[in-house]
């Protein structure tokens, strides 16, 4: 793992997230920027997916349960060379880059998501199929902390533990913010660590914007047998853009021209 190379990819991804949302004047920049390092790690280090196997299911799979962070997914797939769509078509009529991911539009998108909580449930189904087929692929799913207010998340956790889905890795992207404010003020599902353990999952905690920490957590997940892994990844919503960091106002708002200039300046080079 070359950390500088990953950081360089993540910088490109963050710049593209801002470009896409600015160009569309619509989309979700905050959470997308926050989870960009997790996606970079998954697609450049962790997952077995390439242009030869992307059209098949004979590979690792990733479900973006927090589907509104589609700019991060599209920008990462593009950076990894897994899609060749014009990223600026995002959210425009007839684009394959729908506002929320459409699995039938792109081979590299593994599940249609957008309605919160449903991706984790679909990932449980994928992990069951993986076991039935005696495959040793890994199934990854990224859920938000706000998303974890949905009851289906716990139904899915219960099933994942009951069926001992140790190829399943559930990543909770904990950025402490949702549309209406701080999750602790809106209605708190935290601490997720205790809840995941209570269902019987193996839990790792890490800084979701730190590659060494992510590597340690994902390696531990690979070595865990007999139960699913839950990685609690603390991230900074809006990471990389000064005025968006830790600011719920940028959950689903597009930058205006002045904001765009500042953002691109913030994302000019590695720091």
């Amino acid at each position: 793992m070359d950390i500088n190379e990953l950081k360089s990819h993540a910088l490109n991804i963050r710049r593209n997230i801002i470009k896409m949302v600015y160009n569309a004047q619509s989309g979700h920049p905050g959470g997308s920027l926050g989870c960009a390092d997790i996606l970079t790690y998954l697609y450049f280090v962790e997952m077995d997916i390439n242009n030869n196997n992307k059209a098949t299911i004979d590979r690792d799979r990733f479900v973006l349960s927090k589907g509104h962070c589609s700019p991060a997914l599209y920008a990462t797939l593009s950076e990894a060379g897994l899609i060749d769509e014009d990223l600026l078509s995002f959210r425009k009529l007839h684009t394959k880059l729908q506002g929320h991911p459409n699995m039938n539009a792109l081979d590299a998108v593994d599940m249609s998501t957008g309605s919160l909580g449903q991706g984790i449930s679909a990932a449980v189904g994928m992990a069951i199929a993986n076991k039935l087929d005696n495959n040793n692929h890994r199934i990854y799913v990224l859920c938000g902390d706000g998303e974890s207010e949905e009851g289906i998340v716990y139904e899915a956790l219960m099933a994942a533990c009951h069926y001992k889905l140790d190829d399943l890795c559930i990543i909770f992207d904990v950025n402490h913010l949702q549309i209406d404010g701080n999750v602790q003020d809106v209605i708190s599902p935290l601490p997720l660590e205790d809840k995941a353990k209570a269902f019987g999952a193996y839990v790792e905690k890490c800084d979701g914007n730190d590659y060494e920490a992510l590597q340690k957590a994902f390696n531990a997940a690979r070595n865990n047998k007999g139960k699913p892994t839950v990685i609690i990844a603390e991230t900074i919503k809006g990471k990389g853009v000064s005025y968006m960091e830790n600011n719920a106002a940028w959950h689903g708002s597009a930058p205006k021209e002045e904001d765009y200039k500042i953002a691109m300046e913030d994302l000019k080079e590695l720091n």
């Binding site: 299911i57 449930s121 449980v124 189904g125 994928m126 219960m158 069926y163």
Partner: protein, 302 residues
Amino acid sequence: MAKETRAAYGEVLSQLVKENKDIVVLDADLSKSTKTFEAKKVAPERHFNAGIAEENMMGMAAGLAASGKTVFASSFAMFATGRPWEIIRNSICYPELNVKICATHAGVSVGEDGASHQACEDVAIMRALPNMKIFVPCDYYETKALIRHVAEIKGPCYVRMGRGKVEDVYDENTVFNFDKVDVIRKGNGEIVLFAMGLMVQEALKAGEVLDATVVNVSNIKPTDEEGIIELLKTHSRAYTLEEHTIIGGLFSLVAEIKARTDIATPVTPIGINDIFGESGKMADVLEFYGLTADHIVEKIKG
């Protein structure tokens, strides 16, 4: 002979899981009632209980189907459609995944359990979903053929079955064509009765008295629009018979088709009139809601 449609489901499903290793069965703690336990006996490794968590059952079904499986997911019609409706919409219908929702205990005929368990809106809410195909078999033999049919076609399907025993309309030699509505009795050209599910048997009895044409509409979506138009054209009065709310079900289907034509034939609904059901024996409940042949004849004769 009277038999349960869900018994046919269990029998055929237990054959299908033997024939096709890509079939996976899900249930939500009702496998003995929905009869999916019959498939579990044959292929326990491909039967998964979601527990009393129907939303997650539908999400898991989507994930399994996105991994190449043909999934049969069962519960009572109330809990297989109403509670997980939005998961069915976004995770199954939008990505057009191969999930067969086979629900039992539909309609007021579930009986003693009462309103909370009497799904009379299921067809309406499934009809509104793009990519969803909907079938309502009327008897044991049609159910057997239909379950094989939905296993073969691609994409999401909803199959509506009941709880109680219903008289045979067909037999083991019947060849079904699920692209067409089935005219099972030809009348004198005055009255046509379009019926769905267990109302087909009542329609047949009423049809004898009225000398009406009786049509089994088991293919609700996509339906046989041409066939329905032809029957409307060739009869003076049409009635729809359904153990379902008259909003969004069979009446709506026929009335919507008629409204797009210049056919004058009036269409009158006989069904559940926008009210909740109540407890009682199957026969008593059907009688109370006017869904028996005597009531149908009385209503049509006026």
